[in-house]
């Protein structure tokens, strides 16, 4: 059997597996290059190289085991963290998504205005004296001309073929493009400005219509500013991703671009009352929710584990039933609980004979959330507590009993401290998980109730992560930079609390 993994078949198998993986990765690399995602392309290309080096050479045997994990860690953990940290220093929101070059191009493209009468002409696309040109019909005035980029050549109607709608179909020396030619010439003609009069030009609005317009905004590359040719207004880079009129920050051009604003998103959290107020209350509820969730789930799980730790009839059945909530997808459970809490049709109000609007009252909504999380979380602590109880040496308990300790004393003085020592990392992990328990909040209450009429930004049951989601994606205006900054603050909070907890429980030392 061992020879199977070392022989030619093994090498061939390895080669085929590498080949398939490399094929997929290289195709992804090409897609990434095509979409301008050069960092991703670079990472994928390096991945292919590393895979080939690691598995086709003996450069490092341990690396053969670690490399997939390392690559996945970089791709799905480190990269998002780096991206989040980077974006938290940018003005990155609706209206400031694209690059500066792209923004300049689009402002130029939009920086025109139609003439006061909204003049438009029927046109034919073609070539005149080897230049791109339009055969223009001013049907209202029975006037016709050919327009190139620099010239406007008047035509005599008698020289033209004119259809029943008064549109010129052909003219001397004007070669109309065929259907196939039009598609290939689209880009060239769309970008051209054809001569009309004074500063006005004719621009294509489809292949049949030309609109008379003039450029209003011109870009001064040297000064990096836009000038409004008509009003004389000057729009300069405001350092926050927009061209704005100096002294009038509200008067800016769109679209803007992603621009570095360094720590502005962080300072906003503390200086803007709109954010600071809700952030404090949300933080308090987040800590309360995470703590209560851990305490209640651990308490119930431990209680059940203790109850079933001794042999009783039907213990296996009880155990199977108790882990059912854990086996069921949590999303399903949350949605079912959401239905059960419905004011009018919910099972809970029907059973209690009440008409409590569970999700309209802050207190009831918080209670509902803790209750549902207890349902979802106790089987986990039941399982780990059961396992941990088995790990406590029975001699200790027997010795305590011989010394005259009653069961309550044995539990408080021996079982619980030992359990806490064993389970501390899991309790801290559970706290960190609940600190960011987005699914429960989003699916059960949506963060509500929220007094929208009083202008509240956060709901009574919003935790930091759901509040962040609201800021990032909750309305049509998405502030991804600010949301990244809050995410980073959450990360630091969770990391700090977890580190503190681990140190306090001295578990780290026991691992050393």
């Amino acid at each position: 059997m061992t020879s199977f993994f070392r022989g030619k078949i093994s090498f061939a198998f390895k080669l085929v597996a590498l080949l398939l993986i490399a094929s997929v990765l290289i195709s992804l690399t090409q897609s990434a290059i095509a979409q301008g995602e050069y960092f991703i392309a670079g990472f994928l290309a390096i991945t292919v190289l590393l895979l080939a080096l690691t598995y086709l050479t003996k450069v490092s045997i341990p690396l053969k085991f670690f490399l997939p994990g390392i690559l996945l860690l970089v791709a799905f953990v480190l990269s998002p963290i780096i991206f989040t940290v980077t974006m938290s220093g940018y003005n990155y929101k609706t209206g400031n998504i694209i690059s500066k070059d792209e923004a300049i191009l689009q402002i130029k493209n939009r920086g025109f205005e139609s003439d006061a009468n909204g003049t438009s002409f029927d046109i034919k696309i073609g070539r005149y004296q080897a230049q791109e040109a339009l055969l223009v019909s001013d049907s209202l005035n029975n006037s016709f001309f050919i327009s190139t980029e620099n010239d406007r050549i008047p035509l005599i109607p008698a020289d033209l073929t004119i259809n029943e709608y008064g549109v010129a179909e052909s003219a001397p020396d004007f070669e109309i493009l065929t259907d196939a030619e039009m598609a290939t010439a689209d880009e060239i003609y769309s970008l051209k400005r054809f001569k009309y009069q004074d500063e006005y030009f004719i621009a294509l609005e489809g292949f049949e219509v030309g609109i008379v317009s003039r450029q209003v905004l011109s870009y001064d590359e040297v000064k990096d500013q836009f000038n409004n040719i008509v009003s004389g207004e000057v729009y300069t880079d405001n350092g926050k991703g927009n061209y704005a009129i100096e002294g009038s920050p509200d008067q800016y051009l769109e679209p803007g671009w992603r621009a570095p604003v360094w720590f502005e998103n962080y300072t906003k959290l503390f200086t803007e009352e709109r954010l600071r107020g809700p952030l404090v209350s949300v933080f308090i509820w987040t800590v309360t929710f995470a703590s209560l969730s851990v305490i209640t789930t651990f308490a119930l799980g431990l209680l059940l584990a203790l109850a079933l730790n001794k042999p009783i009839r039907g213990r296996r059945i009880y155990r199977s039933i108790l882990i059912l909530p854990y086996a069921m997808p949590s999303i399903m459970s949350i949605l079912i609980w959401g239905g059960m809490f419905n004011t009018e049709f919910g099972a809970i109000n029907n059973l209690l004979g009440t008409d409590i609007a569970w999700f309209q009252s802050a207190l009831f909504a918080k209670f509902a959330i803790i209750l549902v999380n207890l349902w979802l979380g106790f089987p986990y602590f039941y399982l780990v507590s059961s396992g941990a109880l088995q790990a406590i040496p029975s001699e200790l308990l027997e010795a305590a009993a011989i010394d005259g300790a009653n069961p309550r004393q044995i539990f408080r003085q021996i079982t619980l401290p030992l359990l806490l020592q064993i389970l501390s990392p899991l309790l801290i992990a559970s706290f960190a998980f609940n600190f960011n328990n987005f699914n429960l909040i989003y699916l059960l209450t949506g963060g509500g109730p929220r007094a929208e009429l009083d202008g509240e930004l956060a709901g009574a049951t919003d935790i930091l992560i759901s509040f962040t989601y609201k800021i990032a994606f909750g309305s049509s205006v998405q502030d991804l930079g600010l949301a990244s900054a809050i995410s980073l603050v959450i990360f630091l909070l969770v990391a700090g609390i977890s580190m503190y907890g681990l140190r306090k429980s001295k578990v780290l030392e026991s691992f050393q």
Partner: protein, 448 residues
């Protein structure tokens, strides 16, 4: 193999070759046999990967993105007649639903983005701000095919970003098994509910099945005195003046409350409304034009009407908006801008195009000629007529962007909850809603 692939292949090979030949420890490890294997893997992998790489759209191809309903119907229409823009092939990409389409469009890149996207009117402000939508200028005759309000819906800061295709509106229907004649006033409906609540086991009097408690329920707001916009003597919207919150609140107290509690006539949420109406447990319901087929299938008459006002002859006005075919900035990058603009005017914005499309899609056409076409269904025409008679522009540009600190779309449903569930004072809450409206409209008018 494309140019970028060749560059990638040769640069990867070069880097790899340099690595293995310059680093001493590796030179020993890399036997010729292994090097050949590496080369073989690299060559075959690159060759095979070429099979998976999606080809970029051709220069004569216009790509349209639509949701799971509109997309397949567009494909059918274009299969019947595809030569709307000579020389171009039109490709439709469908997404499972409207949210998936929006999500994909938000993430679209130069390489992957569509040339035209069939989106809602409230996509226009964000799409234009973010540089994903491009303006289009219509001629006077092209503009005349639509109402000013419809074009206004797809306009942002004075520029139009697409052509209106579907009218999105709601109307009230009543169950003829419960109610024999059309109600003339709001009070008449409430009286009917109170008189028949017990005997007919009614769960509510009027409920909102389509459009939600903000957009869909606006005709109830309006019927009770909270009209969205105040107009001056020249029919221009006055942006800094809102409805009278006190008058509205008093009407709510009169018609929807018994003391401080809801009288049960209007549920605070839209949950279960459609089913309750279809089960004969609610006599009046507000439905959206996108769902009328469900009601027809259940045998209901399309006796569409506006929500009656507190005074006869002054019905509540509904929000009317349009979905449109929107031009993207990707069209110019793909070199099909003129073709895409032609497709917008020749197909999406034409009578012929909209009649063909809406016969299959079943929504009220936005284009005037198509809306009057005898071949579209009575329900489509009914909704279209209702929209023409009593609809208000939605102006998502400022009602959905937190201009002024809060937004109307979130706040309006909260009014019903505060008053009908939490028992808060309807006048106080009405004044708060009016204040949010004022803040939204006065802060957001710069976006128009």
């Amino acid at each position: 193999m494309g140019f970028s692939s060749r560059i990638l292949f040769w640069s990867t090979s070069l880097v790899f070759y340099t690595l293995v030949n310059t680093m001493n420890p590796w030179r020993k490890l890399m036997t010729k046999k292994r090097l050949s294997a590496v080369g073989f893997v690299a060559a075959v992998a690159i060759a095979v990967s070429g099979l998976f790489v999606p080809s970029a759209s051709a220069a004569d191809e216009i790509v349209v993105w639509a949701d799971g309903d509109r997309g397949p119907n567009l494909v059918k229409v274009l299969a019947e007649k595809g030569d709307w823009v000579a020389g171009y092939k039109i490709t439709v990409k469908s997404f499972s639903n409207f949210e998936a389409l929006k999500d994909a469009f938000d993430k679209a890149t130069d390489a992957s983005g569509p040339d035209i996207v069939m989106g809602a009117n409230d996509w226009v402000p964000t799409g234009a701000k973010s540089g994903k939508l491009a303006p289009i200028t219509l001629t006077a005759s092209q503009k005349a095919r639509f109402t000013a309000g419809q074009l206004f819906d797809l306009t942002y800061k004075g520029k139009l970003y697409g052509v209106p295709v579907d009218v999105n509106n709601v109307a009230m229907i009543y169950n003829t098994d419960l109610v024999t004649t059309a109600p003339k006033t709001f009070g008449e409906m409430v009286a009917f509910y109170k008189a028949n609540k017990a005997s007919k086991s009614l769960k509510a009097g009027l409920c909102v099945a389509g459009g939600g408690m903000s957009w869909g329920a606006h005709s109830i707001f309006s019927a009770l005195g909270a009209d969205a916009y105040q107009f001056d003597s020249r029919d221009k919207i006055v942006y800094n003046r809102s409805f009278n919150g006190t008058t509205f609140g008093k009407n709510v107290r009169t018609y929807l409350l018994d003391g401080k509690k809801s009288n049960g006539f209007l549920p605070a949420s839209d949950a279960g409304c459609g089913d309750n109406f279809k089960d004969g447990k609610v006599p009046y319901a507000i439905i959206g034009n996108w769902e009328w087929k469900d009601y027809v299938a259940k045998g209901f008459t399309m006796n569409l009407m506006p929500v009656p006002g507190v005074v006869a002859g002054k019905p509540g006005k509904m929000f009317g908006s349009v979905s449109g075919a929107l031009l993207t900035t990707f069209a110019a990058k793909h070199g099909v801008e003129a073709g895409a603009k032609s497709l917008l005017t020749n197909f999406f914005g034409s009578t012929d195009g909209q009649v063909r499309y809406q016969k299959i899609e079943g929504r009220p056409p936005a284009e005037k000629g198509a809306a009057l076409d005898v071949t579209v269904s009575a329900a489509q025409r009914g909704f279209g007529a209702a929209a023409t008679l009593s609809s208000l522009p939605q102006i998502g540009a400022f009602l959905n962007n937190n201009a002024g600190g809060a937004n109307y779309w979130d706040s309006a449903p909260a009014y019903w909850t505060a008053v009908l569930v939490d028992g808060k004072d309807p006048v106080t809450e009405g004044n708060k809603l009016a204040a949010i409206w004022r803040a939204n409209t006065s802060a957001g008018k710069a976006d128009l």
